[in-house]
């Protein structure tokens, strides 16, 4: 938070603004959407696309380097009897292989382990960037990032389903869920079609985005509050310390949420792939 939250406080005219400022009390500079906007440090064009390199870009690059670097290092020369980094990496690998791929998809799940593994660890580390000092922005709280990921998942399971089940069969299974009296299809078919093909990728992205966005906003709010309430009065000290305590507690809670959301995103990706591989009836 440090830099950008303080910056946002400054930008909203709140820096130096405290609750019980002598003579001139000012309003609470609540952080808002602007703490997710960053000035670009470099702008260039590739084709028709303007690239703005911002702090988020660096956070994304750092996440990629950390994930790729760690696993290339951990699995550089795998031993039969693992030790050190390989042990840690193997726990992650077996978690995705046994806990997600084989559990959800089944026997064919092994083919999708690299796909799910990459998602889980990239998202987890990107989420973790929210509490890494100096980074302190979860890359996944920038909506375009979860959208990119959800898009990849969507562009994987839809063609996979068409390829595995055949185009008509794939959409038929989606539109006409079995075990329903036929007049219900007038109601169900549009709902199922919209829910599977349009709402599903959207919620897939929004679920991750909104969790990380809200978590970051909460930590920022209480951090700002700790600063805002700080003054040489009893109420000021109590309020400031309490806010700081809440911010720290929320940071701990975020650690849990970061892993959980990465897991949920990966789990849903596995569920969608599984549905594409085997029709639901």
């Amino acid at each position: 938070m440090a830099t950008n939250v303080l910056a946002s406080v400054a930008s909203s005219g709140g820096l130096g603004c405290h609750f019980e400022n002598a003579g001139d009390p000012c309003g609470f500079p609540a952080p808002g959407a602007e703490i997710f906007q960053f000035e670009s440090v470099l702008t260039f064009h590739i084709g028709a696309i303007d690239f703005h390199i911002t702090k988020v870009s660096f956070v994304v690059i750092l996440s990629v380097i950390l994930v790729v670097g760690f696993f290339l290092y951990a699995f550089r020369r795998p031993r039969l009897v693992p030790k050190g980094a390989q042990n840690v990496g193997e726990v992650g690998y077996l978690f995705i292989r046994d806990g997600v791929a084989r559990e959800i998809i089944g026997k064919e799940g092994d083919k999708f382990v690299p796909f799910l593994f990459s998602f889980f660890f990239l998202i987890w580390i990107m989420n973790f960037m929210g509490i890494l000092p100096f980074a302190q922005i979860p890359a996944t709280s920038i909506f375009a990032i979860p959208v990119a990921f959800a898009l990849i998942v969507y562009l994987t399971w839809v063609p996979l389903g068409i390829y595995k089940q055949g185009g008509w069969q794939f959409f038929k299974a989606m539109m006409f869920p079995p075990g329903v009296p036929w007049p219900m299809y007038f109601l169900l078919t549009p709902i199922e079609l919209i829910s599977n093909l349009i709402v599903r990728p959207f919620t897939h992205a929004v679920r991750l985005f909104a969790n990380m966005f809200a978590g970051h906003l909460l930590i920022a709010t209480f951090s700002v509050a700790a600063y805002y309430l700080l003054s040489a009065t009893v109420i000021g000290i109590i309020g400031s310390v309490a806010s700081l305590g809440v911010a720290i507690a929320l940071t701990g809670f975020e650690i849990l949420i970061q892993a959980l959301q990465a897991y949920i995103f990966t789990l849903l990706a596995a569920v969608y792939i599984s549905g594409a591989l085997h029709a639901e009836h």
């Binding site: 602007e34 911002t54 699995f75 795998p78 690299p114 593994f117 990032i145 979860p146």
Partner: protein
């Protein structure tokens, strides 16, 4: 590091906006991670895990084979033992039968020998008896002649008539004895 100042002055774009450049950054990030992990790191660990599974399962299989081998040789040993016991029992039975046969044979031989001894003794006794009888007859004849001569008072020894009489007498004695024997 980088001075970052939120663009508060401008109308902040919606947090749900999806700028193309950020989308591309997200796509590239995943593609790089997926490429590096999917092509380089994960195949290695997959192979290592497969090799480990193989080593463990191979070891277990080998142990199972060794156990089966041990079981088999134990069975063989027990079979051999049972066969040996059976053979010993049959040998013992055979020996007992042999012993009984040998004893029986010896007993019958002894019985035969005893019978032969008895028979030869009886034959000898019969021969001695007939010899004694013959001698007795002769001596009785001589005694009778001697006694008769003494009683008549004259020598009868040279007389042909006397000798004939004695012989007749003896013959009648013999026939009498034969009759007696036949009567028995």
């Amino acid at each position: 590091m980088f001075t970052l100042i939120a663009s508060g002055e401008e109308a902040a774009p919606s947090v749900l906006a999806v700028p193309v450049d950020e989308l591309v950054v997200g796509l590239l990030a995943f593609i790089i991670v997926f490429g590096a992990l999917g092509w380089i790191a994960l195949p290695k660990i997959r192979k290592a895990l497969a090799a480990r599974t193989d080593a463990i399962e191979g070891g277990m299989k080998r142990a199972e084979e060794a156990q089966a081998e041990a079981q088999r040789s134990r069975d063989e040993y027990q079979q051999a033992l049972a066969a040996a016991r059976e053979e010993a029992a049959s040998i013992r039975t055979q020996a007992q039968a042999d012993r009984a046969a040998i004893v029986e044979e010896a007993r019958s031989e002894a019985r035969a020998a005893a019978a032969a001894v008895t028979a030869s003794a009886e034959a000898q006794m019969a021969a001695e008896r007939s010899q004694a009888t013959a001698q007795l007859q002769r001596e009785i004849g001589e005694v009778a002649i001697t006694l008769s001569s003494k009683i008549v008072g004259q020598s009868l020894s040279d007389d042909a008539r006397v000798r004939t009489t004695v012989d007749d007498f003896l013959a009648s004695l013999e026939s009498l004895a034969a009759q007696r024997e036949a009567g028995h």
